[in-house]
Symmetry: D2
Subunit: 395 residues, 4 copies
């Protein structure tokens, strides 16, 4: 099948910062490595500043720039709305897009509140009846090592799961002079480490374990409560604009919780931006009766696996370099041992999303999955504000 | 100073199993590597079975065997009582020995209950007035890497501590057919993973951080509640004696808790015997404003250190091989890069204990330190039995 | 500066297999991450089969397909010829392109013989006088960790270099049933492991050390001399077409050599396709009086550095995660700890090449550099065929 | 069997420095962990200085001190002579001891020259006829991980061996002010890095591979030719006595060679004291058609194993923690995950030597094995002095 013969899939993207750059890269490249059933066309992006949106569109390969996301939805040549703006905007955009019959790919966390997430999941449910697809962008599911981990658990290689241990450790705000960027503002971000990176490990842990957190005891902390107000930001960073004075951090710097999963496993989660020296240590370890798996995103091409069915004489955690042709996604890229990076996870996400649209099936993780993560986040926040008392996750 | 000119220090040891073997090794060798101010003499060990005690004494290098620990205390040539028997026996032996004017080295956990530990700490306090020394054998403090870690924190290399993360992961009872050894019996052991290995990481974490846990939210679990009754045991292991039937596990298989330290750091602890593939993964990570430290006993000669005062361009976790002459204890042994093992930690313990006795100073960790760990254990157990609600550690 | 205002730089690429896919990806994406001084336009690729070239052009994002590389050179809209075809074709294409005033980016090894490489270097020298640029595509120089390593050596962080140790370990032909692909044919590939991967470590080692190999003692081996004839191939792989019979392997499976560098360092190199379990272990370690560096491509985002000026008490190999904004190339991509992959090295190569063209400077590595590597390869082959006797590298 | 009932085996040790301390530790402890068929009695040590020998005997647990090794041989209560003095003394002592009917354990390298080694091997051969045993102390064979590696190769887990890669990297003389200790004097030490640590990796590589080096191309270097004369020394270290002036280093600082083994494998060896930051990195990697093994003494409790018969999807180098009951030697010590150190290798050596004496079998490695290593060393030196030309190892 040649490129021309594939049905065009027009994409409109909202936002063009960190996530926007990552998603653009994915839309630009997915077709060169995967034999997609549709041909993504990067129709337009939307941003509030015309100049910046135009420059971003040029740089990132989009055909046009809009200053209102509603324009993207209005366009007939746009089939997919890709939401890369902060969490407080997700619900309105997603619901509008779904109601307009556009497929929606939405960055995580799905929303800033459970109420918004419910609204979105309901909109997704209604849209699904009309063949309109929706997906929340928990990109870590598309790390080949974690996709392999999921497959191995599903195949029973771990037996009965006893422990699920997840950490997401970063250190980008250890310095008290780091400015008050939007991610430290509860109104924009919903929460701090909890929703930003805690959401990732909740989703990843539940995805790999094939099970859900049912109750938690939690503890949250804001170590540094006043920070310099921020100037312009980019990525996770920003320059403090010294003269703007100080503002109040309204989100958590760190969130810890212990809990149980429905299958009986004990869990332990930690999300923090104060783990000095850990840059993006998104870690997962699962111990089961038949084996164990361990992963650290700082070595994202590797999966550690202990096979408890082996002879104890030669058993050991093996470092699987997840770059073989028979590994998820990896065969499309380079020969074994030629590593993939962070951006490849988004390319895989786009591939799966396009395939789901083409085949008329529901992509995963769904908005319902995003809602469930939101409910875990809510239980964590509730327990943390109530002396750590055991709090059930709303079913 | 020649060996002969050193004052003899007669030692009587109670118990000769796993810990007895380790302590014997230490008494036998400390003088060959450290210039001790006293000459330990391995006078006698005590065990209930005369035959087994006699065989153990011969094998391990003790001059005699007794069948009653009281005999050790009665002997004039015994200056030190070394308690290596299960936790339910500690209080009685230690108090008797201290009252008889014998220095006491007592295995951990100090006792099976806070009440016993209080009694022991009070006896130690009284004995101290008479120049009688006591020490609880948290041997991990004498791992050179952890002693170095403690020194670095004390020197301020970590700045303000934000996170203390400790895990003690083992897997020796994953198999449901593993028998009901004494460590799974609450009457002998006091608790399961919590008191056995959780106690170690509580002490180690507090020691290295130079701070104490003040409150916790906890979760404990017994995954497998019935096991085959055990025959004879050795080390951690035992053979199930298939015909004896089944018994009930009365201790925890795993204990998790999150909490705070008095200096404001968040803590996370996990002790489990169900972490398949982790054999003795006693791990500690501390994140501070100026740096971080990480340790794993499965690579016990290494300490990972991230120096946050370094240029970000060349900063990174460095793997310090703690075998240099200027490292704690290491200079007494071999050239750099020639590793030490588990048993060396006991030799270091004996060295420090003998030096404290000779210099008339109190060795560390004291029975008071052991009592404080006991109080953390009690708070954990209480919180776990009360829906994880925040529980203050008794001061 | 907007995209439109940048001068267009038309690119014509020869070949579209493994390297062609990698180069295409780089041309497609460099402008989205780096603020290039010119706008690459992917004009056309050339391949012998019209159907395959056309399909590849569509898939990889090229505007047209040609069946003769000469057509690319004839086109006025092509400014750059990018040579991704096997080594036996390099000299003819490169010389023709340079003589036609096209800038040339040529895959490594530069040529299959020293004579061809001399011819190419001379053509590059003549073209340079006319402002025409040439570069040999040793992409590993653009791994951020190796670029950082080079900078650190240049800054004197290693002091006097004593040892340069390089290995390139793969295992893709361990199976005797792996077929006789073109890389095992001396007429196509020039040599086996030596020219394919040995060339990479020779260039990388010399680049990072800032020094050149002056003489060698060598040993080469072909472990498996007969293999099934190959069907169609892709990447490094191919399916044996069982019915085609067997053919003779005419290249080396492994090449080892020891030698000296002009600054007095001892070197040790090993290139092999028989290191079972090593997928792309391109490793380099340099020991100097002031420090050491170590690298393994299977963890390509990490650089190990030992600073010998540190206090021995806290010295240790530090794992620098080379993803910081102040690391070479890394700042253009993602936040710290978000890894890069194999393909990014090509994007960096394109960026540097375009910048050199725009600024009228000579990119590095030059064809002269490629020729010097060829001379090392020739000395290795000569020594290996003459009982390992010391063989000077032609100056 | 009780201790008393075991036949006493009197030991006399020559030398009491680094190796003397290590061997004393082994004699002192072997019986406490292994059920030996004989009871070693530490009768006496010999050293030239009466005061130092007496102090060492007291400290290390020997019953007496002699100032002439001949006295040890004369004693009826000495059954075993343990030679821990420098290489230039080995031949005379060993031959005299064997002729006097004493079993001999001799430190490595067996001798400083092939001629001496031949003489020793012949003496061993004659003594063997009289039931007198001899063994050369290549202690690395008794690292449990390397003993396991040997077993795995012997069981065919690696298939046909293609590569044997060995390095012994240290850095203790990187500083030009490090003094001229006896190990840098050819008359005492025979050679430098080559005989000291190169001998270890030659023996270990041949032992694990079960094969012998048949020919080599070599390169040796002395980077720093003048050093301060040394005062008293200990272990590997010494304090320069600044006022003594300078002397000439008469041994190699580094030795590299490539070669072949009789089974067709290619080998690469490097021994150096100039690998800054590597403290005792005695490394071995073997690649075979069915699997690979890797080892680094700086993590001496671990063995890396890649099983090429596994599904490529879950294959990976596994880290075997060699502390299980079914691992060589390990079961006698501690529970799994409780590490062993450098000194344990000597304890294992003593155990095996005592068992061989008791059972009337020849221990391994024999003096013939030591002679064969000496012949490899000689071939390396010869090749290095003859422009690296291929040099066969004398059969």
């Amino acid at each position: 099948m040649t490129h021309e013969s594939k049905p065009a899939l027009g994409v409109g993207m909202v936002g063009y910062a960190f996530m926007g750059r990552a998603h653009s890269h994915a839309w630009r490249n997915a077709g060169a490595f995967f034999d997609l059933p549709g041909a993504p066309v990067m129709v337009a992006l939307a941003g509030r500043s015309r100049d910046q949106a135009t420059a971003a569109a040029e740089r990132l390969g989009w055909g046009a720039a809009e200053t209102d996301w509603r324009e993207l939805i209005r366009r007939d040549d746009v089939d997919i709305i890709d939401i890369c703006s902060p969490g407080d905007t997700h619900a309105e955009i997603a619901v509008a897009a779904l109601e307009a019959g556009k497929h929606v790919l939405c960055e995580k966390p799905l929303a800033n509140t459970v109420a918004q997430a419910v609204e979105m999941a309901e909109a997704a449910e209604r849209a699904r009846a009309n063949g309109v697809r929706s997906m929340v962008a928990f990109n870590y599911r598309r790390v080949p090592a974690l996709a392999l981990a999921r497959d191995m658990v599903a195949e029973g290689r771990l037996g009965t799961i006893r422990h699920v241990r997840a950490q997401y450790l970063q250190d980008w705000i250890v310095d008290p002079e780091f400015p008050l960027v939007w991610r430290l503002d509860v109104n924009k971000a919903g929460s701090g480490a909890l929703g930003d990176i805690g959401a990732h490990i909740i989703d990843a842990a539940q995805f790999v374990a094939g099970d859900q957190v049912t109750g938690v005891s939690a503890l949250m902390e804001t170590f540094i409560r006043k920070r310099p107000l921020a100037g312009a930001s980019a990525g996770l960073g920003a320059a403090a604009s010294g003269n703007l004075g100080q503002g109040t951090v309204t989100v958590d710097d760190a969130a810890l919780f212990i809990g149980k999963m429905s299958g009986g496993a004990l869990t332990s989660f930690e999300a923090t931006r104060f783990a000095t020296g850990r840059k993006n240590a998104m870690r997962l370890e699962i111990n089961g009766s038949a084996g164990s798996l361990a992963f650290d995103f700082e070595a994202m091409n590797e999966l550690s696996f202990y096979d408890n069915t082996e002879d104890s004489r030669t058993a050991g955690f093996r470092r699987i370099l997840v770059t073989e042709p028979d590994h998820p996604y990896a065969g499309a890229w380079w020969p074994p041992g030629h590593l993939l990076g962070y951006d490849h996870t988004f390319t895989h996400e786009v591939k799966d999303f396009v395939e789901a649209i083409a085949s008329g099936t529901d992509p995963s993780p769904s908005f319902e999955d995003g809602l469930q993560v939101q409910r875990v986040l809510a239980a964590v926040a509730r327990s943390a504000s109530d002396r750590g008392v055991w709090t059930d996750v709303e079913a």
